[in-house]
Symmetry: C2
């Protein structure tokens, strides 16, 4: 007795479909062949496996016993094939990720570091974008995934997953230490030169709207091109600025920077992962997406 394992795969599909004709279809094979295989299998095993009828086939008690094992076997082989396919997909390839500066600094860098070490064969392209630019890149297929900050316009074509919140705060340089003694209102802040990201960024929109909510208009004296430029500008007393708290934890950049106390709270913003619903992700991209999605609840460092 030496039964071809292919017969067991065919048996599996017939049992699963309860229909030889349909099983043949799923197997990309033809009905007479499947019929023959099942018959041969039954002869080889010395017992009947199916009860045939006009509308398909049903497992006999013995067929059922066999199926319990064959199911595990087939599903394991399929799992093995998938796993190999998966690991193969992580040995090479390119993942393109569009990220806003804040997302990059506050979330992405340690994840990308880990990802690169886990899958050294995968090339990661990072393009720095404002949130609206990132969405365009995503829509045009220029980026596989994007990590951006709220506020964020919803769209049918993109899928949004919130990763975590972050808090921004107002900071000033040494020349403004007199401000530190009191707790400031937004109205007070409009009196002081403000360093802000350029119009067109969602950060700019966020603060415009925030101040508008108090009947105030912001008047950015200096528009920084990138968020990274804000702290140096603040340190050089060009004005006060709003930066994510995470930016301040870096001790190197911390000197000469003072955090202002505010009466009103700045509403928290979120870092979101977004993806084009219509374009399928490569395995490497899926893996990176998974890592980012999981970063909220686990190992972010290391």
């Amino acid at each position: 007795m030496n039964i071809s394992y292919d017969y067991y795969r065919i048996f599996y599909y017939v049992a699963k479909c309860g229909n030889i004709t349909q099983a043949a279809k799923e197997l990309a094979n033809n009905q007479p062949n499947v019929t023959r295989v099942i018959k041969t299998l039954e002869q080889a095993l010395g017992c009947s496996l199916f009860v045939r009828s006009h509308n398909g086939v049903v497992l006999t008690p013995e067929g059922d016993k066999l199926y319990a094992h064959v199911k595990i076997a087939v599903e394991n082989i399929q799992a093995g094939e998938e796993e190999l396919e998966h690991s193969k997909g992580l040995q090479k390839g390119i993942v393109s990720i569009a990220a806003s500066e804040v997302a990059l600094r506050c979330l992405l860098l340690p994840i990308l570091n880990r990802y690169r070490r886990m899958y050294p064969g995968v090339q990661v392209k990072i393009s720095n974008h404002s949130t609206p630019q990132a969405i365009f890149a995503l829509r045009d297929g220029l980026a596989d995934i994007a990590v951006v900050t709220t506020p964020l316009d919803n769209s049918d074509k993109i899928h949004i997953a919130k990763i975590r919140e972050f808090q921004e705060c107002a900071v000033c340089g040494d020349a403004y230490t007199s401000l530190l003694t009191s707790t400031l209102s937004f109205s007070d802040i409009t009196e002081i030169p403000l360093i802000c990201l350029s119009a067109g960024t969602k950060t700019y929109a966020f603060y415009t709207e925030l101040f508008a909510r108090y009947g105030l208009t912001i008047r950015p004296d200096i528009e920084a091109a990138t968020a990274d430029q804000i702290l140096p500008m603040v340190r050089n007393n060009l004005g006060i600025g709003f930066v994510p708290e995470d930016f301040l934890s870096d001790t190197n950049e911390n000197t000469g920077i003072h955090r202002l106390k505010l009466i009103q709270e700045i509403p928290p913003r979120s870092i979101c992962l977004i993806r084009n619903k219509e374009l399928p992700l490569s395995i490497a991209a899926k893996e990176l997406e998974k890592m980012i999605l999981h970063s909220g609840c686990s190992f972010e460092n290391q």
Copy 2:
């Protein structure tokens, strides 16, 4: 991609043997074929599975991942085949069992009852034998297994497994009720007519030896041909007899029977399952053996 499952079986053996040539032997196949299959498999999966060397092959990390799944798959299919083979072996066939009367009454009957209901297709032949006769039947292949009582001569050719102990007791009929007031010694018993199994049975030998240990000789006034005859004889006051305690639990046969108190204890005897080491058992016989062996620790009734 549609890889033959036979390839995975071959892969399994190659991985297990670490040697293509030997795997081919185990598969009853030839080395060039196995070489070809592995190569084809590697091409189909798009990665190498083995590192070849002068003394065999070793799994690559990917091969190892695959093996983890394939191992489960192959072992499940083999288990399925075995299970079917097993259940097929229990659908028909004959099991011949040699049993002493005591073994039959005290142990075997409920087990056989259950066995018959579980495997109605298997014919069970019970031959009633004294212990020495049962051993002969076993040696001659006339019985598959035997269930007998100690004392039991050991032999190279038979395998003995103790199932459980049983206790015998002395009983008398209504005419001897005067004996019940006192506690008797073996010496007292030799004064009373004794009903015993015929010489040549192990039961006879047991009591001969037991009394001899006290310097006494038993003088069986009546030799019963079967153990079943002892209680009726005792009830008719032909003398006193020794019977297993289990015999007394039957209320029908209990009337007119009185249990004697003895000074000395009757050593417990055992019921053993014995089997010819040299003859392989059929699946049906193995199943019955298993049921008997397990009867000590579980469901004996039902």
